[in-house]
C-alpha cells in the first residue's frame, strides 16, 4: 500500500439500470475495504449535474488523488468524467473507468449474485490500476507556416492557393519547366454539363499562383533529401534545378505528383504503328493546328491523308488481373469522340467499350454523343476486339454483344484508352517521406474513407491523381481539402497529441530496431548514436511498439505493463479457474461489448475485461501471466479486419497471438484456451456468442 495514494471510488446506480441487478451497497462496502481506497460513494446518477459537483466536493474534501468511476461505458462517458475530475483540480489521467452497466447489469440480468461478484472484481481491477496511474499531459509540437507542395498540376496549384490565402507561405516544386501537368496536353475539360478549354484553366490557375505574394515557385526542381517531421522538415533540393542551395525549412507537405499514361506497348501495334495513339496523344492532335487541313479535314501532322474513320477502344490495359478501372476513360472517350464530331461531322467515330462508366450528369454527354452520330459497340469482357492491317488500312473486328454479331470496322486512327500510373519519381518520394504506394505508383492514403487526403503521419497530405486517377474537379476538391488538413496545425501553431503515448527507457535497449520499423505512424526516430526516441506529438499510443519490444524498454502512458499487470492480477485474485481474462480494444471490440449491453444480450458472467487502446498493445508476457495465475481462458479481441483505428494494429495482434499460442504449448498450457476474435462495434451478438462458446468449451457452465 502506498501511503500517499488516496483513491475515491464512485459507484453509480444508474437508477435501477445497475442497482436493479447489482447489489450496489455490497459493492460499495467491498470497495471500502480495498487497499488505498479513501472514499467510496454510491450515486443514483453519477453523470447528473448534481452528482458531478458532489464528486468534485468529495475529491477536495477527502484529498483524493485517484478516482475510479464504476458506471456505464468509457466510450461515451469518459470525456465527461475526465472534465469533471479536471475541474476538481486533479490531473484527468488519474481517472480509471469501470464499466458495470454494459459489462455487468445489462448482460447478466438473471444472475444478480454473479453480477455483483463480477462488479466487485471489476472495481478491484480498477482500483489496482488506479493506484499505479500517473499524471499525463497533452503534448504539443510547434508548427510554423511554411507548406511545401510537391507537383504543380491543378491539384498542387489549387492546394497552394488555398494555403497561401490564409497568409501562410506555400512553395510549389515542379519538376517540369511549366506548371499545369496533364492539362497542358488536354484540349478541353468537360465535367457534368460544363466544358472549358484546358489551356484557359491552366492559364487562370498559373496567373493566380504566379502573382500571389505568398507563393514561391521552383520549376525544373527535384528533391534530394527530406529530413524531419511535421513542423520540422528540412528539404534539400537537387543542385541542378531552381531553388536555393541550402535546405528549406518546411512545416507541412502536400504531395500532388499526379499521374502518367501507361504506354500501351504491344497492344494493337502501339509503339510501332503511328496510326495507333493514346487518348492523351489524341488530345494533343486535337490541340495541334497542324492537324487541320485547309479544307477543315482532320489529319495526322505532316500527312496529306484525311482521317475519316476513328475507332476508340476502351479499357485497353485496365479492368484485368493487375489493374482496375482507369476511372476517367469512359467520359474522356466520349468527350473526345464528340470533339472529333464537332471538328468534322462526317468523321465516323466508334467507341468500343465493356461497361460505360458514366455517372450522374455524364449521361447527358453520352446522349449528346449518340445524337451526334458516335457509334457505341459493347464487346464481351473476355473477347477484346482484334485489329489487322488490310491493304494499308487498319481493320477492327469486334463482337457486339447487344446485337449479337461480329463487325469489321475500318480505321484511319485507332485510339487506345489506356490505364494510368503514378509519376516516375514516386518510388523516390515514397522513400523520402516514408509513406506507401501501390504497384502502379499511386500513394496510399491513411484511410480509404475517413482519411482520403491524409497520410498516416500528421503534417503531410495527398491530393489529385497522385492518389488515384480522377477528373479535374475531384483533383481540385482534393487540393482544397489537402490544404485544409495541413492548415489546421499551421493555424493553431502546434499539433497536440493526447497524453497516451509511448515512452522509451533505453537502459536495456539493444537497438534491435523493431520499434521504429514497426510503428505505423513513424513516431519513433533514430536520433544521435542510433538510439530510438519517440516523437511524442506523432505517437498515437497504440502500444504496438511496447508489446513488441523484446527488452521491455517501452511503456505507454496510462497503459503501462505494470498497470495492465496489476489489472490481470486483480482479476485473477480469486477463483481464477472460473474466469476468462479478456483484453479488448477501445475502438471496436469494446464497442461490440457495449452493443451487447445496449441490446441486453445475456451471456455467462465469466469475463473480466481489460481495456487497451489497440489489440496490438497486448504483449505475450501478459497473456502468459494470465495462464500462470490459473485463468480458465484468455481472450484478445480487436477490430474486425480491415478496420483498425491504428491502421494495422489488429494484424500485428493476430501474428502475435499465433506466436503466443506456440509459446503456451511449449510451456505446457493448452493453446486452445487462448481465444482471438475480431469484433466490430456493431456486433454485440458476436461478443455475446463468443462468451457463450468460451464458457461451454472451457467447461465453465
Amino acid at each position: 500500500m502506498r501511503e500517499d495514494i488516496r483513491v475515491g471510488v464512485f459507484v453509480c446506480d444508474c437508477g435501477s439500470n445497475i442497482a436493479g441487478v447489482v447489489d450496489v451497497p455490497q459493492v460499495v462496502a467491498y470497495a471500502k475495504g480495498l487497499p488505498n481506497v479513501a472514499f467510496v460513494d454510491e450515486g443514483r446518477w453519477s453523470c447528473s449535474v448534481d452528482a458531478l459537483s458532489d464528486m468534485q466536493e468529495s475529491i477536495k474534501e477527502h484529498h483524493l488523488n485517484r478516482v475510479v468511476i464504476a458506471s456505464c461505458t468509457p466510450r461515451t462517458h469518459e470525456p465527461l468524467f475526465k472534465r469533471n475530475v479536471k475541474e476538481a483540480g486533479l490531473n484527468p489521467y488519474l481517472l480509471e473507468f469501470v464499466s458495470i452497466r454494459e459489462q455487468v447489469s445489462w448482460v447478466h440480468m438473471n444472475e444478480p449474485e454473479m453480477a455483483t461478484d463480477k462488479a466487485k472484481d471489476l472495481v478491484r481491477m480498477g482500483v489496482a490500476k488506479a493506484v499505479l496511474l500517473e499524471e499525463g499531459e497533452e503534448i504539443r509540437l510547434p508548427v510554423k507556416q511554411e507548406c511545401l507542395v510537391i507537383g504543380g498540376g491543378v491539384a498542387g496549384m489549387t492546394a497552394a492557393l488555398n494555403v497561401a490565402q490564409q497568409g501562410f507561405d506555400a512553395i510549389i516544386l515542379e519538376k517540369e519547366p511549366h506548371l499545369g501537368g496533364i492539362l497542358n496536353k488536354v484540349t478541353t475539360v468537360s465535367h457534368d454539363q460544363n466544358e472549358m478549354a484546358a489551356a484557359d484553366i491552366v492559364k487562370a490557375k498559373v496567373d493566380l499562383v504566379e502573382t500571389h505574394p505568398n507563393i514561391t515557385i521552383y520549376r525544373n526542381a527535384a528533391i534530394e533529401e527530406i529530413e524531419g517531421y511535421i513542423g520540422n522538415y528540412k528539404v534539400t533540393l537537387k543542385p541542378n534545378g531552381d531553388g536555393p542551395g541550402e535546405p528549406l525549412d518546411i512545416s507541412t507537405i502536400i504531395v500532388a505528383t499526379g499521374m502518367k499514361e501507361i504506354e500501351p506497348e504491344g497492344f494493337y501495334g502501339y509503339g510501332t504503328d503511328p496510326r495507333v495513339v493514346t487518348q492523351l496523344q489524341l488530345e494533343e492532335l486535337l490541340r495541334n493546328a497542324e492537324c487541320r487541313m485547309p479544307s477543315g479535314e482532320f489529319r495526322m501532322p505532316n500527312s496529306e491523308c484525311r482521317i475519316q474513320d476513328v475507332v476508340i477502344i476502351n479499357c485497353v490495359n485496365s479492368k484485368n488481373e493487375t489493374r482496375g478501372c482507369c476511372n476517367i476513360g469512359c467520359p474522356v472517350s466520349v468527350k473526345n469522340a464528340l470533339a472529333l464530331k464537332n471538328l468534322k461531322n462526317d468523321i465516323r467515330v466508334h467507341i468500343l467499350y465493356r461497361d460505360l462508366s458514366m455517372v450522374k450528369e455524364e449521361h447527358f454527354h453520352l446522349d449528346a454523343a449518340k445524337e451526334a452520330g458516335v457509334k457505341f459497340i459493347r464487346f464481351p469482357d473476355d473477347r477484346y476486339p482484334e485489329v489487322t492491317d488490310e491493304s494499308g488500312r487498319l481493320c477492327v473486328r469486334v463482337h457486339d454483344i447487344l446485337l449479337g454479331r461480329e463487325f469489321t470496322i475500318p480505321s484511319d486512327l485507332l485510339v487506345l484508352t489506356t490505364a494510368f500510373k503514378g509519376d516516375d519519381t514516386v518510388d523516390e518520394i515514397k522513400g523520402l517521406l516514408k509513406v506507401s504506394a501501390s504497384a502502379d505508383g499511386f500513394f496510399q492514403e491513411a484511410h480509404a474513407k475517413l482519411g482520403p487526403v491524409d497520410f498516416p503521419a500528421d503534417g503531410i497530405s495527398l491530393c489529385g491523381c497522385a492518389k488515384s486517377p480522377k477528373n479535374y474537379r475531384e483533383s481540385c476538391e482534393e487540393g482544397i481539402a489537402a490544404a485544409m488538413r495541413v492548415s489546421i496545425p499551421m493555424k493553431n501553431g502546434y499539433i497536440e497529441a493526447e497524453g497516451i503515448v509511448a515512452d522509451i527507457d533505453l537502459t536495456d535497449c539493444n537497438n534491435c530496431g523493431l520499434c521504429y520499423k514497426r510503428c505505423p505512424y513513424n513516431a519513433i526516430k533514430v536520433v544521435e548514436e542510433a538510439e530510438p526516441a519517440v516523437i511524442k506529438a506523432l505517437c498515437k499510443g497504440c502500444g504496438l511498439c511496447a508489446a513488441d519490444c523484446p527488452k521491455e524498454c517501452i511503456t505507454i502512458v496510462h497503459y503501462s505493463d505494470e498497470q495492465l499487470l496489476a489489472q490481470v492480477e486483480a482479476a485473477l485474485e480469486e477463483e481464477a479457474d472460473k474466469k476468462i481474462l479478456g483484453f479488448v480494444c477501445h475502438w471496436c471490440a469494446l464497442g461490440g461489448v457495449d452493443m451487447a449491453g445496449v441490446s441486453r444480450l445475456q451471456y455467462p458472467p465469466h469475463a473480466r475485461l481489460i481495456r487497451v487502446m489497440c489489440s496490438a498493445r497486448v504483449p505475450i508476457r501478459l497473456i502468459e501471466r494470465g495462464f500462470e495465475l490459473g485463468a480458465a481462458g484468455v481472450l484478445v479481441a480487436g477490430c474486425e479486419f480491415p478496420t483498425c483505428h491504428y491502421i494495422t494494429g489488429n494484424y500485428a495482434c493476430e501474428t502475435r497471438v499465433k506466436r503466443a499460442k506456440k509459446r503456451l504449448a511449449k510451456r505446457g498450457y493448452d493453446p486452445e484456451k487462448l481465444w482471438n476474435i475480431w469484433c466490430s462495434a456493431a456486433d454485440g451478438p458476436k461478443f455475446a456468442n463468443t462468451m457463450r462458446e468460451m464458457a461451454t468449451q472451457l467447461d465453465l457452465v
Binding site: S16, W45, G324, S468, A483, W587, A682, K686
Partner: protein, 450 residues
Amino acid sequence: MSESIMIIGAGVAGINCALNAADYGTKVYLVDDTPSIGGMMARLDKTFPTNDCSICIEAPQMYEVDNHPNIEILTNTEIRKVKKTDASFKVRLVKKAKFIDEEKCTACGACMEACPVAIPDEMDGKIGGKRKLIYMPFPQAVPNVAVVDPECRHGKMREDGACVGGCVVDCSQCRECPIALCVKACQKEGKDAVRLWQSNKNLNLEVKSIVVASGIMDAKPAEGLHGYGVHQNVITNMEFERLMNAGGPTEGHIIRPSDGKHVKKIAWYQCAGRGLADGVPYCSKVCCMVAAKQTIITKEHDPSVETLIYYNDLKAYGKGFWGFYEKAKENGVRYIKARPYDVFEDPETRNLTIRYEDVETGNLMKEEVELLVLSTGLIPSDRNKRLAKVLKIELDNLGFFKEEDPMMAPLETKAKGIYLCGGATGPIDIAESVVQAGAASMKAVLRIGD
C-alpha cells in the same frame, strides 16, 4: 462580424466538415433536422471498398463532435429563415421538441420498456424492425437520448393503444402527467426526463458562412416495380443493408420478410426503375459497389447462399473498386448482363420467379430466387426544396444543390458564403463526401469567394 459557421446536415460530410473547421479554431453550429447526428452511414452495415464496419468508423467521429469544445450540436432542428447581410447570415432556427430533457436523459431505456405501443420502424419496418413511441434513434445516437414520437404526444396513436391523448387539455398545458407510462417510468428511475409538455424552441444565430451537407436518401421504388410492395420478398438495397447489419432488427441474420427463413438464393436488380417515369433517371454511382459489398457480406455469413446480380453497366469508378468487384466474383457471385422483364411470386413458397433478357445472348431467361433486392439509387434529401428556398440558392434539375461555377469555384453556390459538400452535390460515396467536407470547411472558415 460573426466568426462562427453553420453546417446543415450532420451525416459523414457534415461531421467531417465540422471537425475540420472546429479543429481550425472556428466555432461551429452543426444542425440536423433528425434526432441524432450520423446520417446515412449510421445505418449502413459495412462500407465498400474495404468493408470497414460503418458505425465502427463513424461513431468515434460522432463522439468527437459531441465532445469538441468548438462544436454545438443542434439536432431535431430546422432552418426557418435566413437573412443575408454584408458579411454574415442571420439565421432563425426551430428546435422541435423531443419531449425529453436532454440534460437529464441517460438513455437507460426504462421509458421504452414501459411504452405499450410498438410500431414498425421507419427505417426497418419492412424487415420486421419495430420501435416504441418513445425510442432511441439508434444505439450509438448522439445526443444519446430518447425521443417521443410527436404523433403519440398529439394523441394520434390512441387507437393503437397509446396511453396518452384524449385529455381535456393539451399536453402543453400540463406540467406533469399522471397518465403517460413513459413519464412515470422515468420518474420511477428518479430522472423525470420525459416532458410531454415541452414546446418547440426558437433560436437565433449569426454566422459568417453556411455549409449545406443535407446528403442523400435511398430511393423507394414505385409501388409494384418488380413486385415491390406486392410481393413481400422484394426489398430495396437499403433494406437489405439493414438485414445484414448485426445492429439491425434481425441481428444480422439474412432472413426474408415473408417467413423469417434464412435465405439461400438472392438476386439483385441494378438500376431498378431507371428509365421509368417515377424511377431515378441517372446513375447513382454507388449501387454497383453496394451490391458487390452485399454479396460479399452475404457469403461471409453463409458461403452456401447463391447470389446473382443482374446489371447493365458496371461502375467500379474509385480506388480499389475493381478489386472489390473481382472479390465478389471470386466469392462466386454470378454477374449477368440483363434487362429485367417481370417477377412472379409462387403463392405457396413465396419464392420469386424473375424473367429477364440475357443481354449477351438475347435469350429470355427465368430464374427462381428466394429474395429479390432492388438497387434503387440515391436521390436528393426531400427537404432540399425547402432548404434551397430558405437559403435563396438553386437546385439543379435533379434536385441537388447547384454550384455557380463548377469548373473554377467548386462547391460554391450563387450566394457568397454558402458552400456545399457530400450528397448535397449529387450521388456520392463516403470517401468523396469526406474530401468535399474538407474542401468546404476550408471555404467556410475563410469565407472564400467574398
